[in-house]
């Protein structure tokens, strides 16, 4: 009995091994770390949808190295430990040659040391400038970093809107703090003055103290680095209620679909910098139409960057002709003038693919493309 049992077990093992090998032969796996649960589950759904849309197109066009692309999605629970755990699960699968990481800078920071250890490229959406400037050769950014958003905010506010006295409201997480620092530097460089800076922690229920402080500071213009849509909504409503009617240029969150739905008219008339704007280029417009057709929802930045990341990564692996990490890395670095939904990709030596932002305006609830500001460096 035991003898037969053992034989059966061995047989099972052999079959499983054979099955896994045959699957490995048919598909090429890409690991995706995404917030499926937790406070950012909202944007996580857009991330997964964007990545899937790109994978389907890649597969229709013949796949990668003759194989079908398969996305392996792990939930980061919108937390740093969750991100590290999700990444370690994916990193443990030796069939995965590259990863799509998080749009949250904090979580990319958490995973970064393990990415170095794993020694395989990760496409990221976090915009903290440091991420590509701390000697990690494996991080490739598919969004312009915050020095660019800060440069564009400062450029537009000081030189186009002609405002010199600034109020900055920012989340105290890695994204918000880095954005605030970059903006303060850019304003100083342009000769404008930051009269008040107010930080808040994510998932705040009340912004009355922030609004009152901004109101009392005598600023001419308000700028914000907000992480979550719910915070953006509450902040906007309370600012307007408490009589802060300053012109307002916000980071990306201010013009996302969810923020508009939550805040309603409180965000009317605001400007936002966004790396993704539907009308900014033919490639952006084409992506928007495909996304709408596939999911019946308007695309936004959360779905545009993973779409580009999967598309560009697939191209890089095909260009490299191999899943060797060093070769994929070299092929990514060689990408130049690739028109994606987010803009035109030219990877610099740091791993930053994009170097500019769009300015959009909220015309009574409709986001309208104003202009694209690109920098050479």
């Amino acid at each position: 009995m035991t003898k037969y049992g053992l034989t059966a077990l061995l047989l099972c093992g052999a079959l499983t091994l054979a099955a896994s090998q045959s699957i490995a032969a048919e598909t090429l796996k890409i690991g995706v770390v995404a917030p499926v649960t937790g406070p950012a589950a909202e944007s996580g759904r857009f991330q997964v949808n964007g990545a899937k849309l790109a994978a389907e197109e890649v597969n229709k066009a013949g796949g990668v190295l003759g194989k079908q692309l398969e996305l392996v999605i792990e939930d980061d629970q919108t937390t740093n430990p969750g991100a590290v755990l999700a990444f370690s699960k994916l990193a443990g699968d030796s069939d995965i040659p590259a990863f799509i990481g998080s749009i949250r800078s904090t979580q990319v920071h958490a995973m970064a040391p393990d990415v170095i250890k794993t020694g395989k490229p990760m496409m990221i959406g976090g915009t903290d400038p440091k991420l590509t400037h701390m000697g990690n050769p494996w991080l490739f950014r598919f969004r312009p970093n915050d020095t660019y958003s800060a440069r564009v905010i400062a450029e537009y506010g000081v030189n186009v809107l002609k405002r010199k006295k600034w109020a900055i409201v920012h989340s105290t997480d890695a994204f918000g703090t880095a954005g605030k620092n970059a903006l303060a530097d850019q304003l100083k460089a342009l000769g404008a003055e930051t009269v008040i800076t107010q930080g808040y922690t994510n998932n705040s229920q009340d912004f009355t103290p922030v609004a009152l402080a901004v109101k009392a500071a005598g600023a001419e213009i308000l700028s914000s680095y907000v992480t979550f849509e719910t915070d953006q909504g509450i902040l906007a409503k309370q600012m307007r209620q408490l009589g802060v009617d300053l012109p307002w240029i916000g980071s990306t969150t201010i013009s996302t679909t969810s923020a508009l739905r939550l805040a309603g008219p409180a965000l009317n008339g605001t400007w936002g910098v966004t790396d993704f704007a539907e009308k900014s280029s033919p490639a952006s417009e084409a992506f928007s139409q495909k996304y709408m057709a596939a999911y019946n929802t308007k695309a936004d930045v959360f779905s545009a960057w993973p779409y580009d990341a999967v598309t560009v990564l697939a191209k890089a692996i095909n260009d490299a002709g191999s899943t060797d990490p060093e070769k994929i890395r070299a092929a990514l670095m060689a990408i130049s003038g690739f028109a994606g939904a987010e803009g035109t990709y030219d990877f610099d030596q740091n791993g930053d693919g994009l170097h500019g932002y769009n300015i959009v305006h909220n015309d009574n609830g409709t986001i309208v493309f104003e202009r694209r500001i690109d920098f050479k460096d």
Partner: protein
């Protein structure tokens, strides 16, 4: 001066929400000697029911609120039979773990059913608020203060003036004695869960137009409410209300005059001081268990 009043108004408004949720904590604790860690999720469920009835089905606002609150009472009874009742003869810990499990189940259940998109609920009163001097009184905060005030009075009358209220009090004080007197203890505990769910749901419904409706909306509120009930004296009804209001005011003023990023810190600093200096809270008795 107007800034101080504005902060006081906001602090009391948000404090009222903490107070309502803290009351739910305290009532269940008194009836069962167990802390219900899903109390914050009662608020989330109440707010989502409101979205279902008022936004998705387009029912009138008042009718949606009535149905949502009635549904919360039913939900509280189900919660009792699903989460507490099977473990009623066990010690404190298994029941607490059971409520934590229920909390995770509820959040992810709503996530699965409704998706991760936060929902918005229009304000309940037809005007945005009143400006008095330099102070803006948000209509929703006014409503929250009025409803909390009314609930406190109604609850006092219910517990002190009705037979059912007295039976509930007797049950929470001494279950054995209550059952010797012919009070159906299990039923009383079921009613307590129903009432706590109503209080939590009410807090969620009231706060939804301000904070939006998301699956984790209850977590932060519940944490503060729990701190509020300890500051007030855990197990004390007046303490829960006073603790909730005080916490709302302290964190709002702390944020305005000291530091916004440390806003949550002030609430827990107060909790910390109380645990060191006066662990029984403002209204608590020195002996934790009644004889």
């Amino acid at each position: 001066m107007s800034i101080t009043l504005q902060l006081l108004f906001t602090g009391l408004g948000i404090g009222s929400i903490y107070a309502l949720v803290a009351l739910g904590f305290v009532l269940i604790y008194r009836a069962t000697n167990v802390v219900n860690f899903a109390q914050g999720d009662f608020s989330m469920i109440g707010a989502f029911l409101m979205v279902v009835f008022a936004v998705d089905m387009g029912l009138p606002y008042w009718l949606s609120a009535v149905i949502a609150i009635a549904a919360m009472a039913g939900f509280g009874i189900l919660f009792n039979y699903g989460v507490y009742y099977p473990l009623r003869h066990r010690t404190f810990l298994p029941v607490v773990i059971s409520t934590i499990g229920a909390s995770i189940l509820l959040q992810n259940g709503v996530l699965a059913a409704y998706g991760p998109h936060p929902q918005s609920l229009p304000a309940m009163l037809p005007f945005p608020g009143i400006a008095v001097g330099g102070v803006f009184l948000d209509s929703q905060y006014l409503l929250i203060l009025a409803v909390t005030g009314a609930m406190v009075v109604l609850q006092y009358l219910f517990f002190e003036r009705t037979m059912l209220g007295k039976k509930l009090q007797a049950t929470s004080q001494d279950k054995e004695m209550a059952s010797l007197l012919g009070i159906p203890v299990a039923l009383m505990i079921g009613i307590t869960f129903a009432y706590s769910a109503v209080l939590g749901g009410l807090a969620g419904i009231l706060v939804a137009p301000l904070l939006f409706v998301s699956i984790n909306m209850g977590s932060t509120i519940a944490l503060k409410a729990f701190a509020a009930s300890i500051i007030g004296g855990f197990g004390d009804v007046t303490g829960a209300i006073v603790g909730g209001l005080a916490l709302g005011v302290v964190e709002t003023f702390g944020a305005a005059y000291i530091s916004v990023p440390y806003k949550d810190g002030f609430a827990f600093l107060v909790l910390f001081l109380f645990l060191m200096v006066r662990p029984q809270g403002v209204f608590g008795e020195k002996v934790a268990e009644k004889a």
